[in-house]
Point group: C2
Chain length 468, copies 2
């Protein structure tokens, strides 16, 4: 946190890298971002040492250790964090700079290819925070203690909570590496946390813990849920304990928050059950974000709660393009989220399907196409498709559908061995099914909708995989 | 309201003129602002007819009447409002324009001379509204029904409430001309108003009305109080009825809101009585507004709750200069509010005195110097000073201190006759006292502090004057 505040405050650009990415993606990101200084947890030193030759832009490595616990390392020009601070200028004057200056950068998996960088400005960050902390959204005040339960490399460093908290004078609590239900519940109690932010899978683990303890949710007043839609039973469980569930929607390209369950007279008139059910939807556009449900040509579709179309957004904290990428991202000023949605006359949005060929697992994107491109090179695979299908714990997980070659066909075991070291563990499909052929549509694309329907229940009864 | 939304939405600049100003000030303002179209209530037609010769920039007069009830008038190029709407283009496309474009203009009395124009931009307006509607301030949501009880010519047209309400989707209720306690209470009940905005004098009238009715404050949840500090008894009265008192501070130059009673852990630890007492203070700076208590050289003074100094502010909705006025307004980027204040270590601000020679009556400024300059021309007056002293209903009212000439001295009656038609009724001092001489300080200024001390109780036991 201190690094983030200092780097952005001095007018430089801060970003964090997901250490679970494969090494080639980590060095790609560091090079693409043009990283000059790399701050590294000691545990990751061996990995960075192996990549050091590729990190040509990096001029300084700072290990998050004091001088005493400093590990020996082959990295060039390396400092301990404490040593680095000691070299600092105590009279440093924070500069004033244009609000459009870049503040931070986040990489996200696209539908294909290398990670894409989304560059935020101080302006977009302040406006986004004003809206997420607002009375209709998170309603953060100085009396709140806020616990974001997302890694800092995720969309806008824990969804912008780390900036919204000091904006209103709230207390900010960051979780350590222990993300199990008991540790989180203990942290909430010890710090009198009033608001949390996290993905459904985490809240789903926490709920039975609270219920078993039989003391309610203590200081916890509101939970912000995003990454995927919470189950109705989870919403009801928290609401019955007096905890207001705020299911918000967003993505890295939208800073990330675009919609939230804003108070509405229409919703207020519904029965309590109906109000809770409504929270499975993605809520209303926040002030500052325009939304539309559009057909293929960008024409707005009726706000009737039935017409499903492309969910498009625009506004001051919606990305207009990827960092160092010439490709235009917007259509007539609108960003296509890749989701399909319906919107009712109260501007309440409900996502219905995913248009882009990506899989959303535990709040992070997985590219189907990247896995398909990889598996196409696996011996014994004639054809393959990757689909995201519902998963009880991670919302979606990839399923690999393989047409094996006639001679020397691949086996599940040989494909898993092939994946090893080539893609991140959490991108690896949980299961592989073998079919005789894939069905292609008129445009030459695999009919994935049919596959998703056919295998919809495949993970429904199985346990979750561990991402830890 | 419709006019305001339409004018600003089309990229033009909207402003309202206080009809209680003297005619010369009205024509000055219209000319200074360069008004092109004047919308007029029928009741003001005779006044505008008399001024028509001086309104050289005005190309069109629109009377707020339909064709049938249209009064006959000598005004040139005049339309009825309904007729004007009929000429409109139904396919008008709302333009997009730079956020720094001017949106509205408000005139305020300075310490001397002609009214000064403060020009707001769409940008300053949006940022100000995001902050005043925020969770730490008004906490406006779509479930609120908001009743601003300020005239539209006042700072930012009823304090920006008319923009903050649609921003969050709240219902907006505007009062008619009936501002007596019974009418306001009836309106609150009929429309289920949850939030109001107004000056203490109005709330002071409303409180006994609620108490006499014995049914609490009904739907009313929060009251925003500004213009002057509410009395402790008034704060307690509302809080006991379950109505949260939000005493905010601002002025036309600050859009207008600069401080509000933001939630604070320090305040939350106080007893209920102490929390209510703290609300007589002006609260905390809102996010977006920097504050400092400064000495004469602009150096920040300690935030110790004791050191009194010049209360200075800066931020994106603080004016940097007056409209069509070359004179620099800021000191090193800071706006001097003209108030003296103390600030504690919790950044809680309490105004202690007024540095500028102005009088704040019922939330509006009265210039002492302008009255003094005027009265200097009154036959039989050798010397004179105008001071603002505490008044039970209007916070402050002007008192005129006169040194009469030896021969043919002025009388209270002759001075009042002299004021007639020369200054607005509500600027006229409520009383006149005669003294032998005024005491001047080293810099050649009348020692007003002494006068204010001497006459502090002068209005304490008298009834209020009527401004209606």
């Amino acid at each position: 946190m201190k690094i983030e505040y200092a780097v952005t405050g001095m007018g430089a650009v801060w970003h964090a890298i997901n250490p679970r990415l494969i090494p080639a993606q980590i060095s790609y990101i560091a090079g693409h971002a043009g990283d000059k200084v790399l701050f590294i947890e000691s545990a990751f030193v061996p990995m960075i040492e192996r990549l050091a030759g590729e990190l040509s832009t990096v001029r300084l490595f700072v290990l998050l250790a004091d001088g005493v616990s400093m590990p020996s390392t082959s990295l060039p020009n390396v400092r301990s964090y404490e040593g680095f601070l000691g070299e600092g200028d105590e009279d440093f004057a924070w500069p004033l700079f244009d609000e459009l200056s870049a503040s931070s950068l986040f990489y996200t998996s696209g539908t294909t290819g290398n990670p894409k960088g989304v560059l935020y400005s101080h302006r977009s960050d302040v406006l986004h925070c004003l809206s997420i902390a607002g009375a209709s959204s998170g309603a953060f005040t100085a009396l709140d203690t806020i616990l974001p339960m997302r890694p800092m490399f995720h969309a806008n460093g824990a969804w912008g909570f780390t900036h919204a908290a000091p904006m209103v004078g709230a207390k900010l609590v960051l979780p350590g590496p222990k993300m199990d239900a008991a540790s989180i519940a203990e942290l909430i109690e010890a710090e009198s946390v009033t608001v949390t932010g996290g993905v459904p899978v985490l809240y789903a683990r926490l709920l039975p813990h609270f219920e078993a303890a039989g003391r309610g949710a203590g200081s916890l007043k509101r939970i912000v849920v995003a990454g995927s839609a919470p189950a109705p039973s989870m919403i009801e469980g928290y609401e019955r304990m007096g905890v207001s569930v705020k299911h918000v929607w967003g993505m890295t390209e939208t800073s990330p928050t675009g919609t939230c369950p804003g108070p509405s007279r229409k919703t207020a008139r519904l029965s309590q059950d109906a109000q809770w059910r409504r929270k499975t939807g993605q809520g209303h556009p926040m002030y500052g974000v325009d939304v539309k449900i559009a057909d293929e040509n960008g024409n707005e579709m009726p706000r009737d709660g039935v017409s499903s179309g492309r969910f498009m957004v625009r506004g001051p904290w919606i990305a207009s393009g990827y960092f160092r990428d010439e490709k235009p991202l917007l259509e007539d000023g609108w960003f296509n989220t890749g989701d399909l949605a319906v919107m009712d006359e109260d501007s309440h949005i409900h996502l219905t399907d995913r248009a882009k060929d990506v899989i959303k697992s535990g709040g992070e994107w997985i590219s189907s196409i990247d896995i398909e491109n990889l598996v196409a090179g696996c011996p014994g695979v004639a054809d393959a498709a990757v689909i995201g299908i519902p998963h009880p714990q991670w919302e979606e997980r990839p399923l690999l559908v393989v047409v094996p070659t006639v001679t020397s066909p691949a086996s599940a075991k040989s494909i898993h061995a092939f994946f090893e070291g080539r893609i991140a563990k959490w991108w690896t499909p949980d299961d592989i099914v073998f079919v005789e052929a894939l069905v292609y549509g008129a445009t030459g694309k695999v009919q994935k909708m049919d596959l998703r329907r056919r295998y919809a229940e495949h993970y429904a009864t199985r346990g979750g995989i561990s991402l830890d």
